[in-house]
Amino acid sequence: MTRQVDDSLLKRIDAVTLSEANLAWKNAMKASPWKVFADRERWTTASWKETEGEDIQLRRAKLLEKILDNLEIKIHPFDEIVGRPTPGVIGCATAFDVCGDYIPGIWNDDGEIDATLDVTVEIGKEDLDILRSAAKMFGGKSAQEMCYKAFSEICGDWYRNVESAKLKDPSLDAMITGQATSTLSWAKILRTGLRGYIKECNAHIDAYIAGNGVDVNKVYFWRSAIIVLEATIRHAKRYAALARSMAEKSSNQHERLRLLEIAHVCEYVPENPARTFREALQSMQFCNLSKMLENPIQNNCHWGRGDQYLYRYFMEDLKNGIPLETLSSQLADLIARWGTQTFVSSASGKESHQINFGINNIMVGGLGQDQEDQSNELSYLILHLVSLLQLSAPTVGLRWNYKTPEWIMDKAIRTNMATRGGIPLFENDEVVIKNFVRDGIPFEEAVEWAGLGCVYPCIPTRAEHYGAEGIAAINLAALLHLTLHNGRDVNGSLTGLETGDPREFSNFEELYGAFLAQHKHLVYRVFRFGNIAIKEQPKYYRTPLLSILGIEASMELGQDLVIPHPDFSLFGISDRAIIDAADSLTAIKNLVFENRKLTMDELISALDNNFAGEREEEIRQICLAQPKYGNDIQEADAMVKRVSDDSAAIIKSYDNAPFRPYMIAREGLAWHYFGGLGVGALSNGRKAFEALNDGSMSPMRTADKNGPTAVLRSAISIGFDEVSYASVLNQKFSSAILRSDENIGKLIAYTNAYMGEGGSHIQYNIVDTAQLKDAQINPKDHSDLIVRIGGFSAYFTQLSDSIQNDVIYRSEFDL
């Protein structure tokens, strides 16, 4: 049965605006400086001293307990939902206990540290002392650092060299390895409350002991879970007590009522099952908060399918007469709260990920157990609020399938327009489910998938180890660089195999074979390091809270997520820059081996000179003119498919992977800047160290000459959906394409056509004024930008300045 939606409710949602409290928070965020708080480390260090000599599972639980019982808390005047990991409006906590001595800035004399990408914050003397003592206490002993030591034991400096040459991501420094993520078991948390979990843990301990169990680690696990669950409940009650005491002091009747309401809610959840929408949201926030305090360097808990597990609370409240505006305001609070969670990243984490917000992903729509699309009024409200909030996070994805109704597509495209694109992105539900089922996951589990990070799918019943990058992000463009330099990377180190001087190759297949040999060499070693890490990490690190609330199987197993279990674990790997590598290979095949316009020596010399010089520039132009992916040219697309299939085959051929199947996921946020730093000039015409292509299926910048539909035809033909769980295609349009209802309908049809043919993912970037202005200044980066006006179209960069200004004016007017 197709779900019936209440059209009048959708119309009412369209009229919803941000509440005064929401706006007050937005304003407070704009006005607040980013701040690093040392308070968490005050309690990590205190706890670690107290628990010396105890089992790691209990130590980690008590560490979180200490934080939750003592951390300074605050209720802001605009809070409806309460709970933050720091007292600041935008505050970061640090994670020395997880990462070791990971923030070089704290040893500087000036007491300033890089908090995020481009924000430097001052830090007081007392706080700095706390951070330094934490760095001393945990430095060199974290799971990450111990893994590096293990790698050095086995492979010397190779690992560091490979990371330095950007052949793979710095997974450890970027806080990726060791990460086990999932959405929390939200439905169960809301249904049973944490008290329900505690009872279950106690029952397991009793039964295990009564059954003559001998593995004390299981008992430690359940005990550690009880410790952190009780502490989470107490933490909520600290907020209740704070609200009550603030209420007593307040002379404002309205304010007093607000605070008493907060106290009332925090006394009840997360301990007990949620009864209302607000209690459900508040319960989620306390669980997320504990997770963030257990490891502040990871992402928020993912929302997963919020429109599903929250739906009954939302509809019941509406039925009971709670105004839509009240519910919207509470929901907007939580979405924004998770979307503005910041952390202090390490140097390489920043470099490779370019983020300063904890990534979070809200998924809407998608098939359900009954194989029907589950989009509902709450999905609609989530999209609506995201368009009002205008934040760069969270990521919102719509699970597209053949049954996705027109009304949610319409809202999704309008949300893209309001947010200037990208939100929501569209992911092909059926492709993801098909991949999971092919790899042995039952349909009933697979159908509940949700996005992790940006586009990588995870299943709430399985632990996702190492997140979206998986065990590593492999840089195929850098592998081609190795191939062309007999195994030497951009730094000149022999990190690859000596596959021979390419000038000696007599045909293309020799070159291609060398490329695959480099690939296999890197991937196999990376897997080996994964195996080492999996054995090392549990000795130094556990996550009792994430384990007990994240994966229901942890309860049955009595086992922490950091120790992967073959039946409930998924591992990923990301092979990237396939388009860059394939276009470059096509150029070499044509120019050197087929029409012989260039010799290999000429080409490699030009690349090594970064195309500097007249003849070199000529060579670059010849390279640029070679067939490129994204134009529906069979030759170019076939090379992409070949590289894609062979890359996947190499990954799957490793027969000693820690767990199978390995999920291949081709995505990567801002990785193309980072990856580009490891690649010299390429024979696709790209200059050395420039960014690689964005996404995993997007054509080379400005190389798509045949318009957007040709890009989609190419994207369909390369068959990434057959081998990869996630792929990314970004498309850029000027705002004119969404100027009328009719045109919105056309973009829906366009999306439906692409997804219907098996497109994995698409994300629209609606070009705004700032980007048009940038195109005026940097025309070569935007030479593909088409201005469409009735009966007329032109490339933006070919217009004169004054006419460009006209177009900018029009777009301002229309947006």
């Binding site: 520039e617 132009q621 529906d632 045949n706 318009g707 957007p708 539909t709 040709a710 035809r713 004119a736 394409i737 100027r739 009328s740 009719e742 045109n743 309908g745 056309k746 049809a749 366009y750 439906n752 056509a753 219907g756 043919e757 025309p779 030479s783 201005v787 469409r788 006006i789 009735g790 009966g791 007329f792 179209s793 032109a794 960069t797 070919q798 217009l799 004169s800 300045d801 006419i803 006209d806 177009v807």
Partner: protein
């Protein structure tokens, strides 16, 4: 050039302003009219041309070296095309690294054009879209259009002609059996004004419109709305009266307000543009004309 080949300046996918659904627009080169406001001057002449976009020129001089006809001359920091010597061979275009030289017009056969447009069938099917021929005046190549549309009809692809109407009536006969929609320009009702502003009289255009109305085919009239030329009440009244006299199931007109964004192409072609400094009409002025048409009983929309 045989009659089944045409000069094409552009084939543009994902066109959304030129008929129902998602369309591919094929721009044919050559037009019998010379409207002073034209936004697509590269489609006026029936021969290939070369355009020069000065702002992208780096002054490297490769075009100068490449030109076999001495038609590239050094200028101040950049090079220029000496139009009197240029034969539009395109050697300079191939030599340019920076996109500063562009070729307008590529000879293509009907089959080649059809092979390109049919690739987007999945988008037509999803949106109720299809192929639109435009220009220039596509019916200068009526046989090519007929060939393309015959194949489209076989594949169930929707077809649309954008025409100025100034072609022999037989050209309409050639394409009528395979055409779903006509976008038909009615620029001016006054014969004299029409001749002054477009270079030709409008009698043939009006006759052809009357002829076309006798067939069961979808006609949408279009009016490029030019301030001081055809935005007066008199022209509105006469245009409305003309449309009403035709026995059409739906009487409608689409206004296409003037914009001067085409001026970049005039610069590229090195030809003067009388409307280069013309301001766009205000939203209020446009709405007034639209309301005038509606008051005359004509369904009127404004193109975006």
């Amino acid at each position: 050039m045989d009659n089944l080949t045409a000069l094409i300046t552009n084939i543009q996918g994902y066109s959304i302003h030129d008929g129902p659904g998602i369309r591919t627009v094929v721009f044919f080169k050559g037009c019998p009219l010379r409207c002073a406001w034209c936004a697509n001057p590269e489609n006026l002449a029936t021969n290939r041309e070369v355009g020069f976009i000065a702002k992208l020129c780096t002054g490297c001089g490769r075009c100068f070296t490449a030109c076999p006809h001495g038609a590239i001359v050094p200028g101040e920091g950049v090079y220029r095309i000496a139009r009197e010597k240029c034969v539009s061979c395109g050697a300079c275009v191939d030599a340019c690294y920076y996109g500063a030289l562009v070729r307008y017009g590529e000879p293509m056969s009907a089959d080649e054009i059809y092979d390109k447009v049919k690739k987007d069938k999945m988008f037509y099917d999803a949106s109720g879209g299809g192929v639109t021929v435009s220009g220039g005046e596509p019916l200068l190549y009526a046989d090519v259009v007929r060939c393309i549309f015959e194949d489209c009809r076989k594949e169930g692809i929707d077809t649309c002609v954008e025409t100025c109407g100034y072609v022999p009536v037989e050209s309409f006969d050639r394409v009528l059996p395979f055409t779903n929609h006509f976008y038909y320009d009615l620029k001016l009702m006054s014969e004299k004004s029409h001749k002054d502003h477009t270079g030709v009289a409008n009698a043939r255009i009006l006759d052809n419109a009357r002829y076309l109305a006798g067939f069961n085919v979808d006609i949408i009239f279009r009016l490029p709305l030019i301030s001081g030329v055809n935005d007066d009440e008199e022209n509105t009244r006469r245009t409305s009266a003309f449309i009403k006299r035709l026995d059409l199931p739906i009487r409608r007109i689409e206004l296409m307000p003037f914009h001067r964004i085409g001026s970049a192409k005039y610069d590229a072609l090195g030809i003067p543009y009388a409307y280069a400094e013309m301001e766009s009409m205000t939203a209020g002025e446009i709405e007034k004309v639209r309301d005038d048409y509606i008051a005359c009983g004509i369904a009127c929309t404004v193109s975006t």
